[in-house]
């Protein structure tokens, strides 16, 4: 097990039988406690017994106890090896219990009709949600919108690359420009939706509207026709996230050895050709990483849409997340919303895996 370790530790473990026993007791005893507590709660909920629980907190506490005992027990039983496991185990337990368990639970919810505000509680309804989803034009509309939003990453990337190139050039006041360019990323999307979406784009006296009037747009209204609204949302989202790509690309540019560009210049490559034949190919791995990460953030896009247009006009700006958010707000039906989200997750996983495979293969073949 330890043959692949980068760091070799030679330590003499003398683990006495008592210590080992206590450790084993912790590892195997705590799940028993957890099971007992959970059983008592289940009995109270469905079996009619009254143990005086008001909520499921006791089970949570028992679970936390189990997690602590599991970590501690590793060290007691396995000694040095256990101490190594202790590095990764807490984070792994944390993530597993907070994603895998809710996801499984989510699968149950997805196949049921569950209105949180109605007293009936959860009712299993098979594939009804799936059928409803299939016939829900607004959901498919939101998915199509997501495709457009994702496509907007390409111009964002070009712009970010341009900005990074300028920051990498020999300029004065680089620090000032870097801080200035970084600023939009620091702002909360909710504040941005008011600052830009509601106030600067105010049709009567917002500065952006005034600017547009000067540029010849008679009645600048940024959110009344579908495509204008969609592009406005894209622009606002781009405004916040271009710095993110820009900084990753800038880091990549600064890592390129100067000699390579000088060599290209000696060989007679002028600016434009030097860029396409030297800089750009070298930047490909960084570019792919930054675009993929940007894609991940793009798929979460919701805050701006919820706060500026709440999906309007006619669902033209809806993202999947904002649609599900409103679906829950308006009907408080968790079952249907979860089914929509699960379907979205499946699409994302398929697309992302495909993209990563593609990127991987492309990178391998080009070197």
């Amino acid at each position: 097990m330890s043959e692949g370790d980068l760091l070799h530790v030679v330590a003499t473990d003398n683990i006495g039988p008592t210590r080992r026993g206590i450790g084993l007791l912790m590892i195997w005893g705590s799940p028993v406690v957890l099971a007992l507590v959970a059983l008592a709660q289940v009995l109270q909920n469905w079996g009619g017994q009254d143990f005086g629980f008001t909520n499921w907190r006791p089970t949570l506490y028992a679970y936390v106890l189990y997690a602590v005992c599991l970590c501690w027990g590793q060290v007691l039983v396995k000694g040095e090896q256990g101490k190594r496991i202790l590095f990764v185990l807490p984070a792994a337990l944390f993530v597993v219990s907070l994603t895998v368990f809710p996801l499984l639970f989510g699968l149950i919810i997805a196949f049921s009709n569950w209105n949180l505000s109605s007293p009936d509680g959860r009712q299993f309804n098979g594939v009804d949600n799936l059928i409803q989803m299939w016939h829900d034009p607004f959901y498919w509309n939101a998915l199509t919108n997501m495709v457009w939003y994702v496509l907007a990453i390409l111009p964002e990337y070009v712009l970010a690359f341009g900005l990074a190139l300028m920051l990498n050039a020999e300029i004065r006041g680089r620090k000032f420009f870097r801080v200035a360019f970084l600023m939009p990323l620091m702002l909360s999307p909710v504040a941005v939706s008011w600052m830009i979406g509601k106030s600067m784009m105010e049709t009567r006296f917002g500065p952006l509207a005034t600017l547009m009037k000067h540029l010849g747009w008679e009645n600048p209204s940024f959110f009344s026709s579908p495509w204008v609204a969609k592009s406005t949302i894209m622009l606002m989202d781009a405004w916040t996230f271009i710095p993110f790509m820009m900084i990753m690309i800038l880091a990549g540019l600064q890592a390129i050895p100067k000699e390579l560009q000088e060599a290209a210049r000696v060989d007679g490559a002028t600016g434009w050709r030097a860029f396409w034949e030297v800089t750009f190919p070298l930047m490909l791995p960084v570019s792919i990483t930054s675009v993929l990460i940007r894609l991940i953030f793009k798929l979460k896009l919701a805050d701006i849409v919820i706060n500026v247009t709440s999906g309007g006009p006619g669902g033209a700006t809806d993202t999947v997340t904002s649609f599900i958010f409103r679906e829950y707000r308006d009907r408080s039906n968790v079952g249907y919303g979860t089914m929509l989200a699960m379907f979205y997750l499946v699409i994302i996983i398929v697309v992302m895996t495909g993209l990563m495979k593609l990127a991987d293969r492309y990178m391998k073949s080009s070197y």
């Binding site: 043959e3 907070l98 801080v179 504040a191 106030s199 500065p207 993110f244 958010f325 979860t338």
Partner: protein, 310 residues
């Protein structure tokens, strides 16, 4: 005859040199022009929000921009928040509300970021130094498992968590949000820290262990100080993300544990709200991050660059 020759220049720039210089200058002008243009694009909304919070209604209507020149700054917006010089000493319900939300945001974002950095850097260190095997999963699989959490959109977890939290009485509590936020920034922290630890040679710990340190002792006394800049970068990036988070906060809190973005959003929704107080509120909400951005910019850049360059 000689006057002609001496008055004129003997050495002239060749036409190609003049052309080159002209090209150089136009290049300079172009690049600074573009840089300044984008700086305006990036900074103007912030300036607009800040200046609007000092404007009266007619100034807003006119679209005035320059203080003291085309409008007289007033503390109007800040007065409605209870944060102007006159009102700061008097009791104010709005200020109380604002400070409570601010406090919630601060507690939640700081504790979740610290928790994520602690958990994440431990895991990243372990993964960079030892080889693990759990069932069929080896190190690469475990790393991938952590990082794959990034593609999990929040909306998938939101409704199950809503139901679970309701049963666990964690709805509308700070701890509930802290747990979720930690989960959402943990992959990013692991991503940054993995690179950090990979750059530190293992000889350092080996030397420490020869001197009688345990592995945890070596980690705490030798490795942590070296990896500190990276940890700060991860911490700040987490702070930015958690401070700005809106979706989970809007779903899972109602009255007690609301964060600042939820408050800003609820004010935006109401139509009658005055511009100056809205501007003051927005600006107060983004101010901490603007300060962090200016002061700790190099850490943010370091953090984001960590994954980009291998």
């Amino acid at each position: 005859m000689t006057t002609q020759a001496t008055s004129g220049q003997i050495f002239r720039d060749a036409p190609s040199d003049i052309l080159f210089r002209a090209k150089w200058w136009s290049g300079r002008v172009l690049i600074y022009g573009l840089l300044i243009l984008w700086a305006i694009v990036a900074l103007f909304p912030i300036y607009w929000t800040m200046s609007t919070s000092f404007k009266m209604a007619p100034d807003v209507m006119k679209g005035s921009l320059v203080p003291w020149w085309d409008f007289q700054p007033k503390w109007l917006g800040w007065k409605s928040l209870g944060l102007s010089p006159e009102t700061i000493t008097q009791p104010s319900t709005v200020r109380g509300e604002f400070l409570r939300r601010f406090y919630n945001s601060a507690i939640i974002s700081v504790s979740s970021s610290v928790l994520a950095v602690v958990l994440g850097s431990l895991a990243a260190y372990g993964l960079s130094r030892f080889s693990y095997k759990f069932l069929w999963m080896k190190n690469a699989d475990i790393s991938f498992f952590f990082l794959s959490q990034l593609i999990l959109p929040p909306v998938v977890l939101a409704l199950p968590f809503l139901v679970l939290y309701k049963e666990l009485a964690l709805l509308d509590t700070q701890i509930g949000l802290i747990i979720l936020y930690t989960l959402s920034v943990l992959p990013i922290v692991i991503w940054i820290m993995r690179d950090q630890f990979a750059g530190i040679p293992t000889e350092l710990e080996e030397a420490a262990m020869v001197d009688g340190q345990t592995i945890w002792g070596a980690y705490l006394t030798i490795i942590l100080p070296i990896a500190l800049p990276g940890m700060v970068a991860a911490l700040i990036l987490s702070l930015v993300l958690t401070w700005n988070e809106y979706f989970f906060a809007a779903l899972l809190t109602s009255t007690y544990a609301n964060t600042l973005p939820v408050m800003v959003a609820s004010q935006t929704g109401s139509q009658g709200i005055s511009w100056w107080s809205m501007a003051a509120l927005s600006f107060a909400a983004i101010l901490p991050l603007i300060i962090i951005g200016i002061g700790l910019e190099r850490f943010i850049i370091k953090g984001m660059a960590a994954g980009a360059v291998k």
